[in-house]
Amino acid sequence: MAVGHPLDPYLRVDRIPTMWCPGCGLGVVLGTLLRAVDRRIREGQLKRENVAFVGGIGCTARMSLYPLFDSAHVAHGRAIPFALGVKIVKPEMKMIVVGGDGDIAAIGGNHVLHALRRNADLLVVMVNNMVYGMTGGQLAPTTPRGLYTTTTPYGNPEKEINMVRLAAALGANYVARGSTTHPQLLEQMFYKALAKRGMAFVEVLSTCPEIFGRHIGFRNPADLYLELRKRVVVKARPSVEESDYSWEKGFVLGEYVDRDEPGYIDVYSEYLSRVLGSGG
């Protein structure tokens, strides 16, 4: 009899192995995320049938294919509005949006902007590998300046987006930056984020040795992993000013924002009670 994985009960095991390349960081993200969900379920704070995964398009979005929960693999960039549609109708749902930096920050940029502004009750996990992996190595808004991509073959001339700063500025209740190089920290962030009302936004720095690693000369998964690990530093409660996004200077991991403002569902419910209270 094959020895099962402790997370098997939460997985569509008939779909394993995943489609991800050897050395991809996404397995770490899925593992830590499911462990955090498991803890919340065991503690009685989440009902399994109320947890759902939604992904747009990209390697990260495919994470929605594997968990044995309600899940949706929708259009590129559109996971957030889909998830919010579900959430408004069924506020008891815990909607987990999984997407890459392209899915969330580029094509889904307008949606994440307004979801953050609304403090929408979603856990958004943006896995940032700094490149378009699935389509073969094109420019992402997170690609460090100067680096080669297939669509900026002479070096990316553009400034990178700092989603932590954006999320903090627009009012998410929880904003953290983790990394696949620090799985325990990541799991703790997810665990905490799952209990938040309002928007929880977690950026996860991850490794794509097959594409990003190849571009920058670290094709061996372990080499890229160690390279990223050199460039991150963990801080307890860093300030948003410390969130600078720089491959050169490195990245600060930690919980940038942890507050408890009313979430979208709170204010929307209050709006509905005003409608019903007005004699409608």
Partner: protein
């Protein structure tokens, strides 16, 4: 049932509530905003949700999500917004999501004349999304039809698990009319089929020998999979020709094989008619008045108003116009639906009467063009 004097847009809004609408997501756009505004006032009082999103893309995606949370969902828009929605309309097709899109056509292309009318988007309504399948398109020509076809659009979308386009236009939108407004219980309301098996045995895209799979929603413990990739009955990605064939033909057949059931039209003076003026939407009123003018001049003219534009029920249309000598397709565009009908009526002379008008073509103008062919 009671009679009300309301516009086509208000008729759509009222009918959607009767049909069971529970979630409306939208982005303001002329000439649909009054549907949105009416629902924003009335739907929350009845336990429904109305939310303005950041754009039409978010709106239709939220509506698709809400539909998977068991809520009957709708959005409304016009050309520029519908163009943005097309990507997700395709998602709704492959995920078999019940959804109504009220498409109120205005003058185009691009921004065109936002407040005025046209029928330029009749083909886009069903052919616009990528993937080469057909979705039902129902077209009202009066406020009463806007009411009746809205109820129908919801029922069809639930029964077939498909997005349905309710194709109105700026004239119908703003025309007032006497409308028989009905309550729940006074009209047939169809709800999607639900699974009768255990969550373990449930396969979200298994049609169980038919063409339309039962649909579980989020939060019911069925571990549903909403999958935009080509998928098997479980919802698992399956990049295989045999799976793609099976999926495509089922999605195609479930709509096209409903064409007889979906076929809907009205006709005047069809008996002994030699020259049929076929039209749809607000232009159908011009065609009907033009046919009357022609009859006054001694021609054996009749008018046919098509309320179902897609899927085209070929035998039905051919049968309806069997005894007619010439068919004139009157529309407020360059002659688009004419192409559909010409393909169906191969043994008949089919003449395009494309009359571009910011409102509706004048009956005299329609009659004048038709007479040149008599």
């Amino acid at each position: 049932m009671r009679y009300e004097y309301i516009t086509g847009n208000t008729a759509i809004a009222k009918a959607s509530i009767t049909a069971g609408l529970k979630f409306y997501a939208g982005y303001p756009i002329t000439p649909t905003s009054d549907i949105f505004e009416y629902l924003a006032r009335e739907l929350p009082k009845r336990g429904g949700h109305v939310v303005q999103f950041e754009d039409e893309i978010a709106s239709i995606n939220a509506a698709v999500g809400a539909s998977w949370a068991c809520a009957k969902s709708m959005t409304a828009t016009s050309g520029p917004g519908f163009s943005l929605m097309l990507e997700t309309l395709s998602l709704a097709v492959i995920t078999e999501t019940p959804l109504v899109v009220a498409y109120v056509m205005r003058t185009g292309p691009s921004t065109g004349v936002p407040t005025r009318s046209g029928q330029y988007d009749v083909l886009q309504a069903t052919y616009g999304f990528h993937g080469g399948l057909v979705i039902p398109v129902l077209a009202p020509s009066t406020p009463q039809e806007a009411y009746d076809l809205t109820v129908r659009a919801f029922n069809v979308s639930e029964e077939l698990r498909t997005p349905v386009v309710l194709l109105s236009d700026a004239v119908v939108a703003h025309t007032y009319g006497k409308v028989a407004v009905r309550e729940r219980g006074e009209v047939e309301v169809v709800d999607r089929g639900k699974p009768s098996v255990s969550p373990e045995a449930y396969r979200p895209y298994d049609p169980l020998g038919g063409l339309v799979p039962p649909m579980a929603c989020f939060g019911e413990g069925y571990n549903v999979l909403v999958e935009s990739l080509t998928h098997d009955e479980r919802g698992y990605y399956a990049p295989r020709t045999d799976i793609q064939r099976r999926l495509m033909w089922r999605l195609y057949r479930k709509v096209v094989e409903s064409s007889e059931k979906l076929f809907d039209y009205s006709a005047t003076h069809l008996d002994g008619c030699e020259h049929a003026l076929v039209s749809y939407g607000s232009t159908a009123l011009s065609a009907r008045a033009a046919a009357k003018l022609l009859r006054e001049e001694g021609f054996r003219a009749c008018s046919v108003t098509l309320r179902t534009l897609f899927p085209v029920y070929e035998e039905g249309v051919a049968g309806l116009l069997k005894g007619v000598e010439k068919v004139f397709v009157v529309e407020n565009n360059v002659g688009l639906y004419f192409r559909e009908l010409r393909g169906v009526l191969r043994d008949k002379e089919v003449v395009s009467v494309p009359l571009i008008d910011l409102d509706m073509p004048l009956p005299q103008e329609v009659a004048g063009v038709v007479k040149k062919w008599l």
